[in-house]
Symmetry: C2
């Protein structure tokens, strides 16, 4: 075994110059359907809503797609990210396991989201668009898009889930510092927003509803398109830089993980992290355990259905087959933040259905307990989203302590919690609870699923 | 000229294993005096207040002091920090200058402060102390000490300048997450606090007053000492890791700066950054321009006096010869944050007096203007403190554009502004002003200087 440094950085020359497409190795991955015809969507269908190059990538089955030079220029400002050996956490747990994490939180957006925001803004610019709309839940994606748009000279409107904009007042200020315009959602600026407010004037908003508003706004503006930071295939494609860098770094250390762990909301961080290891598994070359960790309050994999569903509450998107709680599922307003989405990326859903991906739901307070253990040993204050992966990694490491196994554990630390201090305060003061949805809440979500065929 | 990457990281093997003492090359640096006897303080004098090993370092004239292994373990979690070539900023400015910055903000404390917090907590633990007290202005030092203390198992009480605790509510939450106890200052928990409140119940606090409270608290507790995050020689010593890393990285790129720039409050980031270049200058080996950038609202170098003064408002510390506005100087409650201190480190003051260090005072709004230019090009949202250095670096680069010179500029980006969003909001909304102190305010500060000899 080589001497393992605390942190491993690739050189700029070693950074990947092409994204890897998980879907290329999954010909059985179900296509996106047009909601009217129920036929697979065409590039033309998608290009009305999405930036054209992104629509192409959404449908692509190529295994590798080159990263444009101007995107590489931005990536070189924010990447490579470090692969960290969690020596202090291992020592505190007294585990024989070797724990590594790929840390995506050293850029100002505070998370991996910037990896996809950069190419999305770049391709919009290439197409001659002048503005974009999007939504943000926890605020990480909105911040990332703000940073990317101001760099490439594109106007950005962000619909921010209302409860998040209240819990994280300064996230809005960051986006505005980068020149974006931010609207708490639901708002009275769109039909979708007005409908949600009419139904419930006190609604705290949801990611699905914010998507509806951003979509509608994009459709009604000139030279404008809608961009999304998770769930879709092209987002996972961009996020493959996480996994490609992690793999190159792990290989350089002569390490191959027994377990790969990521938090999962729409699946962008997890899908990016696991790309090469899932490909190994699909090719029958290796069998690392891959674990998606989701909040017990929004359990799309562990308690959802594998079905075609809309991406948004207003049911305006194409139909995506995914593990879903139904677009009408109303997650409790706790602090799972960016993981409060009703569905899960198609490729990841298919991997789960195939038994190649495991899923685990964890409760809110156990997540913050893990977050604080991590902060006080490894130094970095994690995002609550990322702390879902930490919880599972700690549990794996403690199981190793029990069994005496020296497993190699790799997890994704997708971001930092610097804008989540209200949540930490609530946890420390005992004001936080776990909010596991009852059977009735689940059934009410499933009732919103479209009836197909 | 070699191809210069965006970011240069040293390997862990290349990290410095000894701190470099700027004072070693400055035998004419004035000693600290005992306020009663007016004789140079002894180790025994200082050890009543400070951790003994830190007191030794405060008086040391050794050029290199080894970094203990357990401190190196923590440093390897948070260091090396990147040396960044600011290609995007250069392009936006259209300058022929080559701009580099040493970025200390990728750790959770958000700044360079952790470099000194780690050894301070470590030496306290080695001495068998069980608790420490300190003060914090902008919150970066308090956060850094919280992180270091929880790691080494030391209790920490932080006195936080009241106006900062109001402007940065979540800074307190971060410190508490790391297990520290935080008291807004002035408070009614100490004589110094009660005196300040009696004088002015509406006082917004000052760093000098918070120091008095923390000092008093340390003196009245068992097995407790006081720690400080700036101004003192041992702090600059620890911060030399910034400059040693920057120098090794610059050397590897075959670059030698024409200009080295740092923001300066008490001087810890600047003193750390310039250590090897100032040594070159003192030895007559090279003559890079070295620039200290301070807020026009608290201009200790550019408008202060080189005199013996107390470090705190209550006049309880030893006497330090420094450029000072007087411990009674009341900086306006604007957002210079961590730079609102009345004095400046002795070595830096001496360098300035010797003409080896230049100083520049910049106004608040011009600083935020530079901060936003930087954020929107380089991606990283800077701390307002650090943005003072950015302002000066941009001004140098624009002068190069004018003159056609291709200077090499190195500046210290000491931290990030993630907890400073209220200040950014105030700037963007036009609510911020420059607050340059009038002659009367200055004279009232000077009136508080001790009469010596």
């Amino acid at each position: 075994m080589k001497t393992i440094p605390y942190k491993t950085y690739l050189s700029e020359q070693q950074m990947p110059d092409a994204w890897q497409n998980l879907r290329a190795d999954m010909p059985h991955c179900p296509p996106i359907l047009h909601p009217g015809t129920l036929q697979p969507v065409t590039l033309d269908d998608l290009s009305h809503v999405f930036v054209e190059e992104l629509a192409k990538q959404e449908l692509s089955t190529e295994k590798f797609i080159s990263i444009p030079g101007e995107v590489m220029d931005f990536y070189r400002m924010i990447r490579p990210s470090p692969l960290v050996r969690a020596y202090a956490l291992e020592k505190a747990l007294g585990t024989p396991a070797r724990i590594y994490y790929k840390f995506e939180g050293t850029n100002t957006s505070g998370s991996h989201k910037l990896n996809s925001a950069v190419p999305q803004a770049y391709y919009a610019k290439q197409q001659g668009l002048t503005s974009l709309t999007t939504e943000t839940g926890a605020g990480q994606w909105g911040t990332a898009m703000s940073m990317a748009c101001v760099y490439y000279g594109i106007d950005l409107s962000v619909y921010m889930v209302k409860i998040s904009s209240q819990q994280k007042p300064y996230r809005k200020a960051v986006m505005e510092t980068y020149g974006a315009s931010v609207t708490p959602s639901p708002s009275n600026t769109t039909n979708a927003g007005r409908a949600a407010l009419a139904e419930n004037p006190d609604t705290q908003g949801s990611l699905g509803n914010a998507i509806s508003e951003a979509l509608e706004a994009a459709m009604t503006r000139d030279n404008c398109r809608y961009v999304l930071g998770s769930v879709l295939q092209h987002v996972l494609l961009h996020q493959s830089v996480i996994g490609l860098e992690a793999r190159a770094a792990m290989d350089s250390l002569e390490e191959y993980p027994d377990v790969v762990i990521g938090c999962a909301g729409g699946g962008s961080n997890l899908g990016g992290l696991i790309v090469t290891y899932a490909a190994d598994k699909l090719a029958g070359k290796a069998s690392p355990e891959i674990i998606a960790v989701e909040p017990a309050s929004c359990p799309s994999l562990t308690r959802g259905k594998f079905a075609y569903d809309f991406g948004d509450v207003a049911k305006t998107t194409p139909l995506i087959k995914m593990y879903t709680l139904g677009s009408g599922f109303k997650p409790h307003a706790n602090h799972a933040g960016g993981l409060r989405y009703h569905g899960m990326n198609t490729s990841l859903s298919q991997l789960y259905d195939d038994g190649l991906l495991h899923a685990k739901a964890v409760t809110q307070r156990s997540v913050f307990d893990a977050a604080i253990t991590f902060a006080r040993t490894e130094g970095t204050l994690p995002a609550p989203e990322s702390a879902h992966a930490i919880r599972a990694a700690i549990d794996e490491a403690l199981a190793c302590k029990e069994s005496g196994e020296s497993k190699c554990i790799l997890f994704g630390l997708s971001g930092t919690g610097y804008f989540d201090m209200q949540a930490y305060q609530d946890y420390l003061s005992g004001a936080m609870d776990d909010n596991i949805p009852g059977e009735e809440t689940l059934q009410s979500g499933f009732a919103s699923l479209p009836q197909i065929g």
